[in-house]
């Protein structure tokens, strides 16, 4: 029994990471956008969803946390179907989309790596905001009692299984959507931009516009991932969004699984998360979390040098046979 519930918990986290990996695949795999501030979107998505769904503190209980959101009191909560959960996810997606629009608008006209610097900056700014503005989300002490999906309708021992279903459903839906989009002419333009911006421009594509769309769509998906995360761990603090587990690991997942390939992105998430959580049970040097930290970096470099396409690599799109 224990192993099954452990597996469920593992699959939930891996599934959430797979959502991020899919989003990053739109950024990097398809378009070549270098986002090193995933943690910013991660945190923004998670906090947005949490703030919208968490009950305000009850003054009678002298609870030691405060925050700005008491939206959920408006009354949807008792509808049986947990509407606020979905509204929270949508809001997380929109919040990340707006931030992506702002950063993208400033930097996507400029040379590639300006985006990287800007995402790095926004990740730190988001973290500092939630750390310092205690009125928003209780600062460093963190936000807890983030509700479960469906509230108390599900018994605690079964919650993981229900939530695993939710995560997998969202993951599958996103996978289909991203797969369709990247295989469509829209995705073709993105890949053209990744290969050669100037040539894409000469082929009549508004490169800035497409890059902006890709950046926003990827960020929206990351926002959804953040929201799913919030309702899984049900406790958020700025320290949760350390670049290691909120940016670097996701990069390793995409690179290992196969950048440019959505299946690879998901495979990589499960594989790297498996390595990450699995190795801690091994004796010796693997027990040291710092060694695993080092390993993540080494993994990225190794993949770039030895197998740039990752495990699966990008698929070649063949001609469909056209009947006359």
């Amino acid at each position: 029994m224990d192993i099954i519930s452990y597996a469920a918990g593992f699959a939930i986290m891996a599934g959430i990471y797979a959502v991020f990996s899919l989003g990053l695949n739109i950024h990097w795999g398809a378009t070549g956008l270098f986002n090193i501030g995933i943690a910013g979107f991660f945190a923004l998505g998670a906090y947005t969803a949490a703030l919208l769904t968490t009950q305000p503190p009850d003054p009678m209980l002298f609870e030691d946390f405060t925050f700005g959101g008491n939206w959920s009191e408006i009354g949807f909560l008792d509808l049986g179907i947990d509407l606020w959960f979905f509204l929270g996810i949508a809001a997380a997606a929109i919040a990340c989309g707006i931030i992506a629009l702002a950063i993208g608008y400033v930097t996507l006209r400029l040379r590639d790596d300006y985006l990287a610097i800007a995402t790095l900056g926004i990740a730190e700014t988001v973290r500092l905001f939630f750390l310092n503005e205690k009125w928003v989300a209780n600062g460093s002490k963190g936000l807890y009692r983030i509700p479960k999906f469906l509230g108390d309708l599900v018994s605690p021992e079964n919650y993981d299984y229900i939530y695993l279903g939710v995560v997998l459903a969202v993951l599958v839906a996103l996978f289909i959507a991203v797969e369709l989009a990247l295989k469509s002419p829209w995705g073709r333009v993105l890949r053209a931009i990744r290969e050669d911006e100037v040539a894409a421009e000469a082929s009549g594509k508004n490169v800035f516009n497409f890059k902006l769309q890709a950046f926003i769509l990827g960020a929206v998906i990351m926002g959804i991932g953040g929201a799913l995360f919030a309702h899984n761990v049900r406790f958020l603090a700025p320290i949760t969004f350390d670049p290691l587990l909120a940016t670097f690991v996701i990069w390793a997942m995409l690179m290992v699984g196969g950048s440019g390939n959505n299946r690879g992105a998901i495979l990589g998430a499960f594989a790297v998360w498996g390595i990450w959580t699995g190795t801690q049970f091994l004796p010796g040097i693997f027990e040291d979390p710092n060694f695993r930290f080092f390993m993540i970096g080494a993994l990225i470099v190794t993949v770039i040098l030895i197998r740039p396409g990752g495990i699966l690599g990008e698929e070649r799109r063949m001609a469909q046979t056209v009947k006359d």
């Binding site: 070549g32 400033v106 590639d112 730190e124 500092l128 905001f129 710092n290 390993m295 970096g297």
Partner: protein, 340 residues
């Protein structure tokens, strides 16, 4: 019209390096005399700026010459700080040499020995990493973003390495004394900061002489200015690249040590966090332009320090980031132009 343009470009070319920087420094200090700005913050900002400058000059040279954003630059700084810690607290203590306070400073003479040793070690490390990773990627002519990506991997691995060897706890160099100089206008300066500024100035001047007086320096500037043209004009690229790494790594290592002295502690994430002001200074000054990076460092250092008068001090990186974004909106090529 065209003569006017001619004259203005000629003036800009002639005046840009030295004079603009002097002007910016004067303006920064003058800002301290404004009634609503605390002089102490400006002075502190200047010290911070000198550390940013060391990192940013190296970063901008690498950016200009090797044509990628070296995301690992902050972690080269971290490496420098920790290698120096190892030398100061480990090696020198092991030899049995007794650490003595050095004048008014909090550190002893071991740190003076550690600085050049550390710089050499980090420079060797940078060259080794180039040989193993970046040289191959250059030969494959991959996209610049892929090279940056590799440097992200290097950044993570370096920090992991630092944490494996020295743990992720906060540490500090052995402290020997604690004094403060009192200056007029309610300015208090820890003697350490004087040392920081002194080292930074010596290194900045050394780099300036290297870039302007030596053949290698001129080749480096030419490459940073226009890589294609430099290639055509027969500059030995491999040597230029090696020297770029050496200079970048030496400056980064020393900047890391100085940062550890400045904030009086070491944490493995210190370099990664420092990337934001570094890149802000580089972007402000124009990519590939070392003088610009110096000027940018002053603007970022002083502004973000002075901003703490009104804004929560922990927002300093956000302030640096905001200045950079504003710059990108107004003048994407930076104050003094650079590769766009």
């Amino acid at each position: 019209m065209s003569t006017l343009q001619n004259i203005s470009t000629r003036i800009r070319r002639k005046w840009a390096p030295g004079h603009t920087i002097v002007l910016i420094v004067i303006l920064a200090v003058a800002a301290g005399f404004l009634p609503f700005v605390k002089m102490g913050l400006v002075v502190n900002g200047v010290f911070l700026a000198s550390i940013i400058a060391l990192g940013a000059i190296g970063l901008t040279l690498i950016y200009g010459i090797l044509d990628f954003a070296n995301v690992a630059h902050g972690d080269y700084m971290t490496m420098g700080a920790y290698v120096a810690l190892f030398i100061v607290a480990g090696v020198i203590a092991a030899i049995g040499a007794e650490s003595q306070g050095l004048g008014p400073f909090t550190f002893g003479y071991p740190l003076l020995i550690a600085i050049p040793l550390t710089a050499a070690i980090v420079a060797l490390g940078a060259i080794a990493l180039d040989a193993v990773i970046y040289r191959r990627l250059r030969n494959w002519r991959v996209n610049t973003a892929v090279v940056s990506m590799a440097s992200l991997g290097v950044a993570i691995a370096l920090r992991g390495l630092v944490q494996i060897i020295w743990s992720s706890d906060t540490q500090n160099y052995p402290r020997e004394s604690r004094q403060v100089f009192h200056l007029p206008m309610d300015v208090r300066i820890p003697p350490d900061n004087i040392f920081i500024a002194l080292v930074a100035v010596i290194l900045a001047v050394a780099v300036y002489l290297l870039l302007t007086r030596t053949k290698m320096g001129k080749a480096m500037r030419a490459t940073a200015d226009n890589p294609d043209l430099a290639l055509v004009s027969g500059i030995e690229t491999a040597r230029v690249i090696r020297w770029t790494w050496v200079i970048g790594a030496v400056l980064a290592a020393v900047a890391g040590i100085l940062l550890a002295v400045f904030q009086a502690h070491l944490v493995p994430i210190m370099g990664w966090k420092f990337l934001i002001p570094l890149f802000a200074a580089v972007v402000l000054g124009g990519i590939g332009n070392p003088y610009g990076a110096l000027a940018g460092a002053f603007i970022i250092g002083v502004t973000s320090e002075v901003s703490t008068q009104w804004i929560n001090p922990s927002y300093k990186p956000a302030v640096a980031f905001a200045i950079m974004i504003a710059m990108l909106l107004v003048r994407p090529r930076g104050l003094f132009g650079g590769q766009g």
